[in-house]
């Protein structure tokens, strides 16, 4: 199988302003502090991989960005705008729904359990958001949806329902659905973990393809170490709520001196 090498964005200008910044972000669920001060910058079109043991907080990091959870303290800046806070009479207060929606449009997410809408066809799944959220015309939305579905290889399933698709197909639809909204940054939450092994490959192919077109920043929370090495510009190892190790894939996955990271990686070498 010929694999096209993924263009690494390290070749692209380093001086661009980051599109996402986490400033000392903490998140607690009740008494349990899951994120203990995260500082992170994501450049446009950068591809990040987040790895770490369960409970380390890696999923929480992206859920905060997608506004599915609220930070207990700290700031998340998207494209220069504070995500969870807004200006009111010159002061920073908690953002309202309106503000969230304004900033959220740049972010897209693909879930571990697909979360396709079961009462809509594949095509409808991909057009409902452009039509109602972006107020695109029905024809335009259909056009772009079909284009995207073709890109993920599902053009012949336009009028099927999610229940008729395999796991791998469902995940590909989920990605098309998110891409149709043209987000600046795409979040992937362990998107292959719920799939049968033989279906993982087709999904990874699509992710690789997205990475190749270069324009979208991506954050992948994943256990697929080899894939991460291939696609990511930077790898972050999360442990117990902090970024324990950060660097290029070679640095983190092969040459790390971190004990915990090494024992974690050993589990995947088999």
């Amino acid at each position: 199988m010929e694999e096209v090498a993924v263009k690494k964005t390290s070749e692209i200008e380093e001086k661009e302003d980051p599109i996402v910044v986490y400033k000392d972000v903490h998140k607690s669920f009740g008494d349990i502090e899951v994120l203990k001060g995260i500082n992170l910058e994501i450049k446009p079109a950068e591809k990040l991989a987040l790895i770490g043991p369960s409970g380390s907080g890696k999923t929480t990091i992206i859920r905060l960005l997608m506004t599915l959870e609220e930070p207990t303290s700290g700031d998340i800046i998207v494209n220069g705008k504070n995500l969870w806070k807004m200006e009111k009479n010159g002061k920073l207060v908690r953002a309202n729904e309106h503000h969230l929606r304004n900033v959220r449009g740049e972010i897209g997410m693909v879930f571990q359990h697909f979360n396709l809408f079961p009462h809509m066809t594949i095509l409808e799944n991909c057009t409902v958001a452009p039509i109602h959220v972006k107020k695109e015309s029905k024809e335009k939305a259909r056009e772009r949806a079909i284009e995207m579905l073709e890109r993920v290889g599902l053009k012949d399933k336009l009028h099927n329902y999610p229940s008729q698709l395999s796991g791998g197909q469902k995940q590909r639809v989920a990605m098309a659905r998110a891409l149709v909204m043209q987000p600046k940054i795409m979040l992937f939450d362990e998107v292959t973990s719920a799939l049968d092994p033989e279906l993982v490959g087709e999904v990874l192919e699509v992710i690789r393809d997205i990475a190749n077109t270069g324009k979208t920043a991506m954050v992948l929370v994943t256990h697929e170490m080899d894939f991460a090495k291939d696609v990511a510009d930077r790898v972050l190892f999360l442990d117990k709520g902090v970024i324990a190790e950060e660097g290029t894939p070679e640095e983190v996955l092969q040459n790390s001196k971190n004990e915990r990271l090494q024992s974690f990686l050993r589990r995947f070498r088999g």
């Binding site: 359990h113 979360n115 809408f117 079961p118 009462h119 959220v133 229940s163 989920a174």
Partner: protein, 209 residues
């Protein structure tokens, strides 16, 4: 035979109003506003905790007094009583179905940047309604049975006419009432069939758990 008219009109009106109440109350119960939530909860618990026949009589006497209106016939009293009673039960079904839609659906809708209203309208409610249909069907059949109670406040439904025949001819009583039962059953049959159909619709097209 003559009572059909009343029975059916009461049923249809009650059904429509009760669905209305059910949705309003169900949605109110999951509102973020605690006042709305609690006031609705009181309504639901009061009407679920008391008996329909008691509610019927109570309204029959209370409405003229409270509102000073003499409602021409007792048609509205009957409809309101049945609608309020079953609306309360069905609001629980509404609430339960909405809550049962998996969280992932809401999250996917958020990820696509839909507003709360859009989430409800496009994603949650279509799935929730499918789930509710069988229970709504069951309750509608119960409402059909409940209409027989309006004969007690003097409305001329099927049972009322049955009673008249019985009081003029006691020996015919069993046959008369048996016939009345048959009439109700015949009316119920289409509803039963619809409910069965609703059950199979609700099986497909829903993401739950």
């Amino acid at each position: 035979m003559r009572g059909f008219n009343i029975t059916i009109t009461v049923l249809i009106a009650s059904a429509i109003f009760s669905y209305l109440f059910a949705f309003i109350a169900g949605l109110c119960r999951i509102s973020e506003n605690p006042i709305i939530r609690h006031v609705t909860a009181v309504y639901v618990e009061v009407f679920r905790g008391t008996s329909l026949i008691v509610q019927l009589f109570w309204l029959y006497y209370a409405i003229p007094m409270l509102f000073g209106i003499q409602l021409g016939s007792n048609w509205w009293t009957g409809v309101i009583a049945i609608a309020l009673n079953y609306g309360a039960y069905m609001s629980e079904v509404v609430r339960g179905s909405i809550l049962a839609i998996s969280k992932g659906q809401t999250e996917a809708a958020i990820a696509l940047n839909m507003s709360k209203f859009q989430r409800m309208r496009l994603i949650i409610l279509p799935q929730a309604v499918r789930m509710m249909l069988p229970e709504f069907g069951n309750y509608t059949i119960q409402m059909l049975k409940a209409t027989s109670l309006v004969s007690l406040i003097g409305m001329t439904d099927i049972l009322y006419y049955g009673d008249i025949i019985r009081s003029s001819n006691l020996s015919q009583a069993p046959i008369v009432y048996f016939l009345v039962l048959i009439f109700y059953f015949l009316l119920a049959l289409p509803l039963i069939w619809l409910t069965r159909k609703a059950e199979s619709i609700s099986k497909k097209g829903v993401a739950s758990g």
